[in-house]
Amino acid sequence: MAALLVAAGLAGIMEPLAAAQQAPPAPPAPPARFVVVLDAAHGGDDTGGRLTSGQYEKNATLALSVRLRSLLGARGMQVITTREADQSVEMAKRAEVANHADAQACISLHVAETGSGVHLFASSLTPAVPSHFAPWKTAQAGWVTRSLALAGVLNSALQHGGLTVTLGRTALPGVDSMTCPAVAIEIAPQRDADRKITAEPDDTDYQALVANTLAAALLEWRTEARQP
């Protein structure tokens, strides 16, 4: 009887083992967490630009960060922000928050009155092999290739959403120190063919359209990030 019980127990153990041996190799497990860092640029003494409405850029970027945070949270993403209020945050501190988060996407948010549509910027640093001992000011160099890929995903999503998008590369003290796929997004007014403004960058509907599109694009980025 005891032997039977032992045999049954062994069989119970052996069964899943055998099944595991016969089953095709499982796809790599998705990352347990998907973290997005939202960096509302400017704040405190650093007002940023001034919009036609009279609003400071620092307030518009914070509003956008708050809106995006809830959209991304609703899609199951963990969101870490560099500021939650009108306070000044050093560039180095912003990068420190981002680098601590071990994030899959770092988004620096700007709002401007010049140009049109959404401006996407990746770091202008020359791509390099990622290293734990990268100089602080150019740490992003190891991530530029991933940052360009992220910018590409955001670009196609925004264009599919009917928005005007321009792509560029620039030197940004905060972003250049981030060790994550990082993109700076600047929301400019929406303009018609005659360059007449059809929506100001702090227009609620326009911001909602951009934020929703970005949230969908980041969901797509999460799927891409899972690929080996």
């Binding site: 630009g49 401007a112 010049t114 590409g152 560029g168 590369r169 620039t170 030197a171 600047e186």
Partner: protein, 233 residues
Amino acid sequence: MIPRHQTILLGVLVLASLVMGVALWQLRDRAHQRLVAGEDSAPTKAPEVAPAEQATLMVANDDDNSLLGQVHSLPLPSDPGSRARAILGRLLDIYAAANAAHPVPGGATSVAQVFLLPVLESDSGKAVAGTSAPGGSGPSNSGGGNSGAARDSGPELAVVNLTSSFVSTHPSGLETETLTVLSICGTLHANLPRVTQVRFLVDGQSRATLAGHADLTRTYLTSDAAPPELTHP
């Protein structure tokens, strides 16, 4: 009674002083003309006597975040620093015009000076601006005719001294500020190919950013001003 020879002497002396007065007046006039002519060559507008030459301006467009090469004909002085300043002046005049595709107020007078310095081997990558090398090979600026830097044929660092009024009225934004910096770098390189690095000063001082975004503390490589490219994997 005055003797006759004394009257003649007095007459000669009066005549001599009158002639000398006229001569002095003419000399003063000539000196004034020279001064005015000298002032004409110093400011942003090249003197009319300079022959018109072609310059390639890398003109920015906010709508598509692009730089487009445009050939313009303008009078250019021979001194490289003054030349650079005249070319950048024309570029900023385009931005100050009504309905510009990259609107920035200020115009030609916004560039106070352009200094050209040789890039030292040890400096490549992070050249230090504003100091002239000991030994007399000083910066070649727009005011004087010093072309010390032009003597060698190596790469050059251009130090662009902007006015604070230009910087204080420059629109704020990642795209607009980046375009201004890149179009200045690209225009310098297009016309002075030896310029490979560019640094910025504002009223002779270093400054953190142009208008809150573009970093003015770093040395820009003119290769950065190549048309912005982004690749989708």
